[in-house]
Each structure stands twice: as C-alpha cells, then as structure tokens.
C-alpha cells in the first residue's frame, strides 16, 4: 500500500491548463478522493514535447529542466495525459547524457511520474470510483499512454465502475486518431483521412459518448465530430470518473 496521504504534484499539462481546466479539477478530485494531498506548482508550463518532436532538442532540454525543478520533492507527479507523462517517463532521460546530474534527476523524476488513471489503479490501488455518469461510451486508446506506458485495462476498469456508464469497444481502438501534435496541422489531409476512419469506428459502436485520456486527441476527434454535426459527446476520462456531467462536453457550449 502507498504511504498515508502521499503528496502529489499535479502536472496540469499546457493543453488542459489553457483549454479545459475542468479536466484538471476532475483530476484533483480523483486524487483527493484516493487519499492524496494535491499541490500545483505554478512554475510548470509545458513538458517540452512539441519542441522535442520537432527536432528542437535545446528548447526541450530547457523545458525539461524547468519541470524537473518544479516537481522536486513531491512523492509523485501525476498528469491527466499519457502523452505528457510519457514524455517525462520515457523521453526526459534521453535528453541528457548518462552520468550527468541532469540525467539522474530525469530518471528519478520518471520513477515518480504517472498518468492519472494508471496512478490511481497502480499506486493508489483504486478499484472503483464513486460516481454517476449517464453514457453509452466507447474508449479510444491514445498512442503514447498505450504504447509508452502500457495503459489499456486501467481506464476501462474504472469506467466500468461508474454508475450509468456502459462501455462498448470500437474496432481499432488502439490506432492513432490522426492528431500527432503538430502533425495534424502540417499534414491536415493525411490527418483527416486517419480521423475519418476513426470516426467511422466510433459511429459503428452506437456510442453516444467518446472517451479518451489525452486532450489533444480529444480535441482532434471532437473537432471533426462537431464540424460534421455529430451528436456524440466527447469527454476526458477524468471528467467521467469524477462524475462531472455539468461541464459542457468538448466543443459544445451546453
């Protein structure tokens, strides 16, 4: 069992911070319900993944150092994103030469860093949540969470415990939605083709709600669903697990 009331630093992620704070507050609720003390360092900005994936290693290094400093001393660091957590866990150590203090700090931070849902299940041993949410839902596995952090069963397990949620699997739930960070604006036509296939698989399930764990993917999928006038609601997994039905779904006003 984890120590009593671990001190958790919430890495909000730049996208949630600016676009959808309700995901951050849902994460805080889930962490507090699980017995954590939550703090939010205000010097955090972005994990640096956009720079790293654009080949700009120097800026990625600077931003990584900032995050490493911001989250020093916490028992755990938790992000409501597999992509940003994956950046810290898998890629921060690659930014620094082995044997340096920076590298050691990156590895050490990586050991304390988790994506939200997998932190709840793996570290806090949460088996179910006490929440209600009416949804015939389908869950999309975001690539980084799935392949860098091995997250697949955990969100499904917790979602199944939400009163009112029924889950149905889409075909190819593990295939990329076409977001890919800057990819989706650099190659919008390819991205759209990938998205088109994804939306077909979503529609085929008959679900009224699409759930995933990364806001980038969610905005991508919601963006096209709403452009096409779809009634399918798009939600971050944290919002559903926290029972936040009051906040309008992604891309909608009410």
């Amino acid at each position: 069992m984890p120590e009593a009331r671990p001190r958790v630093g919430l890495f909000v992620t730049c996208l949630v911070d600016m676009m959808r704070p309700s995901i951050g507050f849902a994460a805080v609720k889930l962490l507090e319900d699980a017995g954590c003390r939550v703090e939010v360092p205000d010097t955090q900005t972005c994990c640096g993944q956009p720079a790293y994936n654009s080949g700009d290693k120097a800026d990625a290094v600077t931003l990584a150092r900032n995050i490493i400093a911001a989250f020093r001393g916490f028992d755990y660091v938790v992000a409501p994103s597999g992509s940003c957590a994956g950046m810290i866990v898998k890629h921060y150590p690659e930014l620094f030469a082995e044997g340096t203090a920076d590298h050691a700090a990156a590895v050490e931070l990586g050991h304390r860093t988790y994506e939200l849902v997998s932190f709840l299940t793996r570290v806090m041993k949460v088996q179910k949540v006490d929440a209600q949410f009416a949804a015939r839902a389908t869950y999309h596995d975001s690539c980084s969470g799935l392949r860098e952090l091995g997250i697949s069963a955990e969100p499904r397990q917790l979602l199944a415990s939400v009163e009112g949620v029924s889950l149905r699997e889409m075909t190819d739930s593990n295939v990329c939605c076409g977001f890919g960070g800057t990819f989706c604006v650099k190659y919008p036509d390819i991205s759209d083709k990938m998205l088109e296939k994804k939306l077909k698989h979503i529609a085929d399930t008959g679900a009224d709600t699409l759930i995933a764990g990364d806001l980038g993917c969610l905005m991508n999928m919601a963006g096209k669903l709403k452009r096409e006038g779809s009634a399918i609601k798009v939600r971050h997994v944290a919002e559903v697990l926290a029972g936040d039905m009051a906040t309008p779904s992604i891309g909608e006003a009410e």
């Binding site: 900005t45 080949g55 295939v175 990819f183 919601a222």
Partner: protein, 471 residues
Amino acid sequence: MEASAATFPANVIKALADSQLQYAMTETGPRFQTKRSVARDALPEFDALRDQSRDIKNHVLDHLDIYLERYEAKVQASGGHVHWAATAEEARAQILEICRKANARVVTKGKSMISEEIDLNHHLEANGIQPVETDLGEYLIQIRNERPSHIIAPAVHLTRDQVEADFRKAHTHLDPNRDLTEIPALVEEARTVLRQKYFEADAGVTGANFLIAETGTSIIVTNEGNGDLTQTLPKVHIVIASIEKIVPTLEDAATILRVLARSATGQDFSNYTTLSTGPRRDGDPDGPEEYHVVILDNGRSNVLGTEFQDMLRCIRCGACLNHCPVYNAVGGHAYGWVYPGPIGSVVTPALVGIENAKHLPNASTFCGRCEEVCPMRIPLPKMLRHWREKEFERHLQPASIRWGLRFWAFAAKRPKLYQFGTRIAARVLANMGHGKGRLRNVPLASGWTKYRDFPAPQGKTFQQMWKERAK
C-alpha cells in the same frame, strides 16, 4: 524514375483523391495486421526471437568488415565472384558488364528491392537488354512502369480490374473474348507469358534476404517459386544485395527466418526458402555456370556508428508499413522513392539526403505501432526524431513552423510570461467561440480548421482558477 520524396504533400493529395488506390488500401492493412497477430500469438517465443534477431544484427553491424570479408572468401572458394559496388551507378555498370560478357539479351529477375534502389531495369533496357520481372507483383508494376508501393507486395495499390486492363494492354496476343474476370485466370495468363521467358533468359538476377558469412550462401524467400527458376535455369546467376544483409551463420539466418515471414505475411514460413552457393558443381543436376554477387553500399556505411545505425537491422518484412496509419492512408507511392512507410522515412533520407526527403520524417504521428511490430526492434520513431533534429539544425523545416515553435518556446521557458499569455489566449479564444463552444476559423490555424472545428477553451486557465480557489 526520379525521386519525388520532395513533393510529398502533392503526392499525398493525389493519393487521397485516387479512388482505386483508396479502394485497394482499405482491406490490405487490416488483412496483414490480422495475419501477423495470429502468427505471433501462435508462437510463445516470438518476442524472445525478436530479441535474438536484434542481437544477431547488432553484432554483425559492429563487425561488418570481418563478416563481409569472410563471406567474400567463401564465395570465391565455391567458385563464385564478388563485386563491390560503392554506388548505384557502380552496381549497374557491374551487372551490365556481366550480362554483356554472357551475351545476354533477356534477363529474368526475382524480386529485389536493391534492384529497385539502383533502378536496374531502366539501365538494362537502355543498353539493349530486356529485363523480365518474374514475381507477379513486380511483373505488374514493370508493365505499368511504376515503382513498388510496398516492400513485399509491390502491386498492393492495384485492383483486379486494373490488372486485367494492364494485361489486355501489354499482352497484345490476348484474345479480347478471353475471360479474365477471376484472379486465377490472371495468374494463369502471367504464368504462361513468364514461363517462356525463363527458357529465353541468359542471366537471372535475384536479391538476397541473407548472405551467410560461414558458407558464402545467399538465401531468398519467395511464395511463388519464381526465384528458383530465375536462379537455376539461366547460365549466369547474379545476386544483388546490400552490405547489411550479411549474417554470420546459417543458424543465425534460421533464427531471423522465424520472425521474418510471421511479421510479413503472417505465414510461419514462406513457401520457398532457397539457398544458393556458387555455380553448378560437377554432379549437380542443375544450376548456373557462373555465380556473381554484387554487394552494394550506396551510403549505408555512412550510417554505421551514428545514431541511425539501427536502421540497418531491417529485414524488409513490411510490418511497419502494414501497421502504419499514415501508410495505410496514402499508400507507398506518395513517399516518392523506393522504400515507403516508416522504414522508408528513415532509410530514404540516409540514401538520398535529408534535403531531398525532408517531409518524410515529419509524416508520422509517432504513434509507435511501427516499433511495436518491428521484428528487429528498430526504434523507428526515435530514428525519425533524429532526422527531425538534423532538419532543425539545418533549418530545413518551413519558416512558419520554425517561427511558431520559437515563439512558443520563448514563452514556455518563462513561466510568468507564459501564464500571462495563456490567460489572454484562453479568454480571447473563448470569446471568439461566441457561446458555441467551438470555432470554425482560427487565425494561423488553417491546417486545423480545414477539416475540423476548434473546440473553444473554457475561458480561464487552470492556474488562474486554482489560485482563485486557494484565496
């Protein structure tokens, strides 16, 4: 055929608008994926074999000179000849010379990506020699004057209707009333034409899946048996292979063979695994009088010892293509050169120069499926990212992307400025949503809004609200 990797965005538009291509691609990816998955699940030691295969090739790449020399000595001892080609041009010249000495007029060919890489067919044709591809897929693209669109399934972009039309155009002997609506009829037609060519050929060119250092053997795997006829019937057999195809022993090849077909087609083993060592010996029932091996470098040795070395482990199974959502959206020709898909986006810049292939490393979402399925555990996303680093160093990315990134990084490195900026952006964008929760157009974000609305932010940043809550 010129490389067109530089015009990738235009190639993509064309590919997405090509309804035949899109139709052909719909089934292919999922079919290959399912077959691989079934084959993998049936072999408990599959992942352990991947580790062993990776280790074998890593060892070879660290001692490449030793194994290549050992291989050469063994080929010579078995009566064959080894030709070293530093460039595609040298390889073409060496093969032409061998064909000329043999007075060859017709040359049959087994499937070989290296032959595509050096554009051998056009060179032979320009010098009065008729090359005939004997792999069905390769034959189809030869009569269409196209490049392969897939490493192991070169004509995967074609539909049955297109094949029938191509046959009726190329095979002028065909009775217009002959029924070619079923695939077996098409295969029969190809077989009839090709069988004659096997007997006419004066030389046969094959690729190699492996070159064995301990024995001087070359190995090919095929499903049609065409490679066997290509290398045993003519009086001259020419193997064309690149330097990294070498493995130390037959045992090593056997290990890698166990992951090759499973990763490629989902077969436990390909229909034919054919070993050839030197020319026909006294007492052999068949085989060529001359045996030549042309070993191509073409830029590969420059990769040794760099952050890109792992790409040389590739055994060209095509699994990364089959599982790539980008490849499955646009097909192989959009990549603009010989090797498509994730491995192509890694290899092409190394062989033609990053300045001529700068889009390719960017045409990936880093979804990671390629690395997940690669039998040789090549870290493809990492290699692609290394290419992006090279591009960043050399300012090869579009100015808009570079300046956008600089602007963003400048702010993100200054938390106070960043929070100030995000507060304003969140409020402005939320207001622009006009209470609809989304925007149809966003300044400087046409790439996003071309196909999607932009979900509006909620209005305040999390940091802002968190501080308000604490008060």
